[in-house]
Amino acid sequence: MKRLLKGGRVVDPANGRDGVFDVLIDGDRIVRVGRDLPVEADVMVVEVPSGLVVCPGLIDMHVHLREPGQEHKETIATGTAAAVAGGFTAVACMPNTHPVNDNAGVTEYILKKAAEANLARVYPIGAVSRGQDGEQLADIAELRQAGCVALSDDGRPVATALLMRRALEYAGMFKMPVIEHCEDPSLKAGGVAHEGYHASTLGLHGIPGEAESIMALRDISLAELTGGCVHVAHMSARQTLDAVRYGKTRGVRVTCEVTPHHVVLTDEMLVLPIPYDTNVKMNPPLRASEDRDAMLAGLADGSVDVIATDHAPHHYDEKHVEFDRAPFGITGLETAVSLCLDRLVHAGVISLARLIELLSVNPAKILGVAGGSLAAGAPADVTILAPDLAVTVSVARMRSKAKNTPFDGWQLRGGVAATIVGGRVVYEGVGSLLQFLPPAL
């Protein structure tokens, strides 16, 4: 079946497009993008109301789907349902499952579950080290063959400089980036929040920004040494951004991501509105406003490559404990687009085209996967955004199994109208005004 998305504002930075175009989809592929495309007989026309934005499918390169092993938090089915509801046509899932995704068996299991769910595309990320224990490299070639697109020991840093060196060298053979959770464990110590005034008032152990930047500097140096690709995950500290900029000026193959929560929230959330709210406990922690401002500047000036959610679902019981005992992390898939549109685009920090770069073009490029483009021949992964939609975040309506977000009840401007994966409409927002089905005869 052919579908023509007609008359929407197409924002497709990979192809330099930002204007009113039609997008013709045939089956699971985009076949043509142009102005006023002719309507052939077998084409179903979907009028895109003015105000909506057609863009390449968004890719979240940092999520935790928890399956296998922690299905009480999230499953691949619920996680990908959350993804498409959040406008993401693809997600890359971290290997810290039980068992760890350090072998082809687990990778294949994840892909099988993703195929069954048949919603967002799932790109598994394999472990750098066997069991993520920082001792021995995982079987990286085997992981690549099974379908992993990148490597990471996320949840913890690659344990030693030597192991990181080997990982960068070895993964480089397979064109896989190493995604690094930058954190010096000794500096983190027992930290649970950003080291600063607010953590001090609450008597919480702090984690200085340098715990992150020191590790980033190590990894950037090693990327320079090896020529490998390192991607700094969930960057939070201004010192880390400086480190990344330093690496880029030296021509090191380093990229970086920030999460929506690190660019929207600061460590003041530890105190207000709810003191010790475990839904603001994440790692890296929410930083000071100076750090947040640095991240905003990095988004604007191009130093930051990607926005990824670090979607970290946890069960209610796990978060309903003392702050020290609660697990790190919040969900992100279903709030990212609204937060970014409201706090970044409407706030004038970045343009819509830049947002699409951050959420689609660059993740595709870094992971080396299809997508990020609406070119003819590309997979028909399309997200239709409603930038002016009034959205009230509601955990009750979320598709994720988990409800651990500090954004419940937030009123934001901008949301998702529809998500199309491989030509199939997998999500349609309430009141999107899109008519994907022909009127009943």
Binding site: L202, L204, V321, F323, D324, R325
Partner: protein, 306 residues
């Protein structure tokens, strides 16, 4: 008063003075032949202690009994926690038996805030992690006021492990609210981040901190901090920060020396200072009962603005 006493942070200076004034009246009860009033008759107070504590728990128990509350103390150190019961479940089970107040001591900062959100009973913080220990700060203020007749304008030097001390946080909040000039001093490794923003002067020179002080308040150095490499040795700590008679001599001639206990003699404080004429350490303990009676009495009233 609000429903709970979670910390000094939530108290206004008027409320602090109300507690101190009420404690003045309560102290007299402890001097009677029959040290008991019927005020909290029929009220049930549970002392829920997840951390070992002798002084604070005993003080609360005596305060409760002097007000005729029905009281029981639960040391949860091992039992429930080892069986995997969460703090919330433990609290909800106690809550199901309809106590009126729960006095909580817990190793995690913010534990009382968590319980405050889920319990109908009034929560009194008897020390939560490194966060606050409000009744300690109140009894300290009571003791200071007794000796100095005021708090406003006094120079108070607090010396010791600032980083891990809930007593420090509560005292800094209280003393700055009431207008004291607060100096804090300790090894740089044990100064919390952003300490200046608490409205205090920070100095790593104990001599500077205690110079012309009206009050010197010592904080306990915990032996286990040695493992975190915060200080090289207890002996060296005493050399650099220990409160000796020579250091006390730099303070005002009528300065008082305080310590929340338990003391490490020869580590943070020399015995001659602890037992010296300027030491009010045992008065602090005595005043603790009156201050806790005041808190129990004032919290037992109707909630305000709810």
């Amino acid at each position: 008063m609000k429903k709970d006493l979670l910390g000094i942070a939530e108290l206004s200076s008027e409320e602090i003075y109300l507690i101190l004034d009420t404690a003045e009246a309560m102290r007299e009860i402890g001097q009677r032949p029959i040290k008991k009033v019927p005020t909290l008759r029929g009220k049930t107070v549970v002392n829920l202690f997840f951390e070992p504590s002798t002084r604070t728990r005993t003080s609360f128990e005596i305060a409760e009994k002097r007000l005729s509350a029905d009281t029981l103390s639960i040391a949860v150190a091992a039992s429930s926690v080892l069986k995997g019961e969460t703090l919330v479940d433990t609290a909800m089970n106690i809550e199901a038996m309809s106590p009126d107040m729960i006095v909580v001591r817990h190793a995690a900062s913010g534990a009382c805030h968590l319980l405050s959100r889920i319990c109908r009973s009034r929560i009194i913080n008897a020390g939560d992690g490194m966060h606050e220990h409000p009744t300690q700060a109140l009894l300290d203020a009571f003791t200071i006021r007794e000796h100095k007749k005021r708090i406003d304008g006094l120079k108070v030097a607090i010396v010791g492990d600032l980083l891990h001390s809930r007593v420090l946080r509560s005292n800094v909040l209280l003393l700055t609210k009431l207008g004291a000039e607060v100096w804090v001093s300790g090894p740089r490794t044990l100064v919390p981040a952003g300490m200046e923003r608490f409205g205090v002067r920070v100095s790593t020179s104990v001599e500077e901190a205690v110079a012309d002080a009206d009050v010197i308040m010592m904080l306990r150095i915990q032996q286990e901090r040695m493992q975190g490499a915060f200080i090289p040795s207890l002996r060296e700590y005493f050399t650099v920060f220990g409160m000796t008679a020579e250091r006390v001599a730099r303070a005002k001639p009528d300065a008082i020396i305080m310590h929340p206990g338990p003391m490490n003699r020869g580590v943070e404080i020399a015995s001659e200072v602890a037992d010296g004429p300027y030491s009010v350490i045992l008065e602090q303990v005595a005043n603790g009962v009156a201050v806790r009676m005041a808190v129990l009495y004032l919290l037992a009233g109707g909630p305000e603005g709810e």
